[in-house]
């Protein structure tokens, strides 16, 4: 085998692997990504029943209902519209009424959103950026303690940590 042939095999092998990787990436990006939607987005153009997406907004005050076994029901709102979310599981520590939250799951036929995960931010002084951005786009004023990432200054001038949402 000549040096050229050997090199051709190596380069060919490399390109094959890269092509396979590229194919996998393109396929996966088409089939696995989840879109972020606000309650207003859901109200105006509801995703198909069963389609996975991420729903973000504020937990509506007074909307959290417990007592149906481990199932919790609450409303996620951007103050213009709201979506009822059902979740079976342990809510995150930072889950609180009036605070930002991102739930991932699917719409059910009855219009409720069945979440399989609920995330709240790990620092009380700010909310998930997607939520903050979606709210800002809608012209919604943020709740107390919720600092928009773009407006964030040094923590000293922001809302004091730990005194928010109580």
């Amino acid at each position: 085998m000549t040096r050229k042939q050997r090199r051709a095999i190596l380069i060919g092998g490399g390109l094959t692997v890269l092509a396979v990787a590229l194919g996998l990436v393109l396929f996966a990006l088409r089939s696995t990504i989840t879109y972020f939607k606000s309650p207003s987005d859901v109200a105006t153009a509801a995703p198909a029943v069963g389609q996975r997406f991420r729903l973000g907004g504020l937990v509506k005050d007074g909307s959290v209902k417990r007592g149906n076994g481990p199932e919790v029901e609450f409303s996620v709102t951007d103050t213009l519209a709201h979506v009822t979310v059902v979740y079976r599981g342990v809510l995150p520590d930072l889950f609180r009424e009036g605070q930002g939250v991102v739930a991932e799951g699917r719409l059910e036929a009855d219009g409720r959103f069945r979440a399989d995960s609920v995330l709240a931010k790990h620092d009380e002084s700010y909310m998930p950026p997607e939520v903050a951005k979606a709210l800002k786009d809608k012209g919604v004023k943020l709740g107390q303690g919720a600092v928009h990432p773009a407006d964030k200054k040094l923590p000293a001038s922001g809302a004091p940590k730990g005194e928010t949402g109580k």
């Binding site: 990787a21 990436v25 089939s31 879109y35 481990p70 342990v90 790990h122 600092v147 964030k152 922001g158």
Partner: protein, 659 residues
């Protein structure tokens, strides 16, 4: 006073970095020994100054000096001493100072241990190291100064985020940074080689131990982070394909590829251009990881609140270093002479396959991490790319990698015999088949692919054992000969085999946990029971308690298995005082089959509590594998050939004229 000294030392370090960057590089260019020699004292002074600065900040934390804004914002007088110390790097400013400290330590190590390096190479390497230090010192001094005072002095601090008050997370950043920054050595050597226009086996011999050390630290650093997320976040998972996790995983993948390509370069003088490029890319991914975490563009559990100015500064650093080094590479890589040729079926060929697959895997993680950011920046909407994407892209690329792994060490250099390697692996094939069959028979519900994926882990372990057995002629030579060979086998051979065994152990843990994990969510009243994976858990009610800086509510669960008591699980919900924040502490029972993992949720009307219980089979194997990989690396690093051989050879090479 000490704070001001720390601040002053930081600025002096900046000045020293300028000198260390310019003088030795000029010296190397004009071949002036005295100018090049400046690098030695400069790099030691640099370390002393940065260390002094770091100690000054540590002192402010230990003494709870709240006139320092950074201490005020991130510490509290009631915090235990160990977390006051780890609080130094539990915030943005302090962690950047730690970054530079580790960088300075690596630079000083080259100066101290590199006595036998060719003088121009050493001078250029230290100059490049200094340029990185300069960029980050400028960054700290202008946007992230930890030594700023506040007036009036507050009575007490705001405290550290309680989820960071944890022994695992106290040592996670230093380990991770040791890995990130350790790859700067490979980068500096690569850039120096491009400046000089030559690389040789001695160059690879120098780069490999540094890369190996950085890789070891990154391996345990990532494992530590995963372990922390597992027991602290209370989600029962160990890896979330979170962008910040990916940011540390990409340099690890590239660094793993670099370790293997440097091997080819050292032994066979082949793959020079590729190795140099990989060294640049590995550190570039480290820089990108720093950028992603520190710029605050990510929505992640790990991201700190950040000022946008900092993001732009790090972006500029990143563009300058990555762009500059790649530009240098495109201009100069042609001057690197190509080395030995080899057949596609050979040790080199196997290592090339390893590199291709690891590079492709890195690329898929890269796309999955950056695509949502890019799309959002271009106004394409907010999307997220999660585990399903990575399972579909990263997973399939690992299959051929793991399948091919045992062949590599059994093929000889230059031209290998695949059939002979297959023959030697016959026992491993039998063991693997048995493992797959056993897993198939044992699993009742579960994905049909899982037993085969599990067998891949067994295959890798069996392959590594086969390699050692082959090298010592076990089964073919008489016993005394085998024992003699076992004793004389170089430590680096044991190290490589052990690291591969570690990979196999982790694969088994990952597959078992992902495929056969069970979970249940119920609302329990005291006295009620639940059942999972053969365990019965009886809820005995909750009890309040207090810790040094928190109050907690602990649930009591009596665990039995087939009627015999196993343990008592006590998951709790904590409320910390400073800052006022709730955390979940999972109750975990470690059994030989796997972990029983219980989380206490909210109280329901009527006195019931939401309880979530997981059974994670063999989950400990994941981290155990990482520790075994680390030990394999340590064994290899302690091989005398690797340490002693390099300088000697470098000296001999230095006498030859430059190509």
């Amino acid at each position: 006073m000490i704070t001001e000294l720390g601040h002053f030392a930081l600025l002096l370090a900046l000045a020293v970095a300028v000198v260390q960057m310019v003088v030795p590089a000029v010296g190397a260019h004009v071949r002036d020994q005295r100018l090049m020699a400046v690098a030695y004292p400069a790099s030691l002074l640099q370390l002393a100054l940065v260390a002094g600065s770091f100690l000054a900040l540590t002192y402010a934390y230990v003494a709870s000096d709240f006139s320092v804004e950074n201490v005020f914002l991130n510490s509290h007088s009631t915090k235990p001493l160990v977390y006051r110390i780890s609080g130094v790097w539990g915030n943005h400013e302090g962690s950047m100072l730690l970054w530079v400290l580790i960088l300075a330590a690596f630079g000083a190590a080259v100066a101290l241990f590199g006595a036998n390096l060719p003088p121009t190479l050493k001078a250029n390497v230290l100059a490049v190291q200094a340029s990185i230090a300069l960029a980050f010192l400028l960054f700290i001094a202008t946007t992230s100064n930890p030594f700023l005072r506040i007036d009036p002095v507050p009575a007490d601090g705001r405290g550290l985020n309680p989820i960071l008050q944890d022994p695992g997370l106290a040592i996670h950043p230093p380990l991770l940074y040791g890995g990130y920054v350790g790859f700067s050595m490979a980068f500096s050597f690569a850039v120096a080689a491009l400046i000089e226009g030559r690389t040789d086996a001695a160059w690879a011999r120098w780069v490999r131990p540094w890369t190996l050390a950085a890789w070891m630290l990154l391996t345990v650093g990532i494992a530590m982070g995963s372990w922390w997320a597992y027991y602290e976040l209370g989600w029962g998972g160990w890896w979330f394909w979170d962008p910040v996790e990916n940011a540390s995983f990409m340099p690890w993948l590239a660094g793993t590829a670099l370790l293997h390509s440097a091997l080819v370069m050292e032994k066979r003088e082949a793959l020079k251009v590729w190795t140099v490029l990989l060294a640049i890319l590995t550190f570039s991914l480290s820089l990108m990881g720093t950028f992603l975490v520190r710029s605050g563009i990510l929505s992640s559990v790990h991201a700190f609140a950040v000022d946008p100015k900092r993001g732009i500064f790090i972006l500029v650093i990143m563009v300058l270093f990555i762009g500059g080094s790649l530009l240098l590479f495109s201009i100069r890589s042609g001057t690197l002479r190509q080395g030995g040729i080899f057949a596609p079926i050979s040790r080199e060929g196997a290592l090339v396959l390893n590199n291709i697959l690891l590079a492709a895997a890195t690329a898929t993680v890269f796309v999955g991490t950056l695509y949502p950011l890019a799309l959002d920046a271009l106004g394409g909407g907010s999307i997220s790319v999660g585990a399903p994407y990575f399972n579909l892209t990263f997973g399939p690329l690992m299959v051929p990698l793991l399948l091919a792994l045992p062949f590599g060490p059994l093929l000889s250099w230059k031209r290998g015999d695949a059939a002979a390697a297959m023959q030697r692996l016959l026992v491993a094939v039998v063991v693997t088949t048995l493992a797959a069959a056993a897993a198939l028979a044992w699993q009742s519900p579960g994905p049909w692919l899982a037993p085969f994926a599990l067998a891949l882990g067994v295959w890798v372990i069996a392959g590594a054992v086969t390699e050692i057995a082959f090298r010592v002629k076990a089964g073919t030579a008489p016993w005394p000969e085998v024992i003699r060979r076992l004793r004389h086998l170089p430590l680096s051979s044991y190290g490589a085999a052990l690291a591969h065994i570690g990979v196999g152990i982790s694969v088994i843990g990952i597959v078992a946990t992902s495929a056969w994990r069970t979970e249940t969510v119920v609302a329990l009243k005291p006295g009620e029971k639940l059942e999972i994976a053969g365990y019965q858990l009886e809820f005995r009610g909750t009890a309040p308690g207090t810790g040094p800086n928190y109050k907690e509510l602990t649930g009591q669960f009596a665990v039995t298995r087939g009627g015999t008591p196993v343990t008592t699980l006590a998951p709790s919900k904590r409320l910390y005082d400073q800052p006022r924040q709730a955390t979940t502490e999972a109750g975990i029972h470690v059994g030989w089959r796997g972990d029983l993992y219980a989380v206490l949720g909210d109280e329901q009307p009527g006195g019931a509590y939401t309880v979530r219980v997981y059974f994670n089979p063999l989950v400990r194997f994941i981290w155990l594998g990482a520790i075994v990989m680390f030990l394999g690396g340590a064994l290899s690093l302690s091989d005398r050939r690797l340490r002693v051989g390099a300088p000697r050879r470098a000296k001999a090479r230095a006498l030859q004229p430059a190509e």
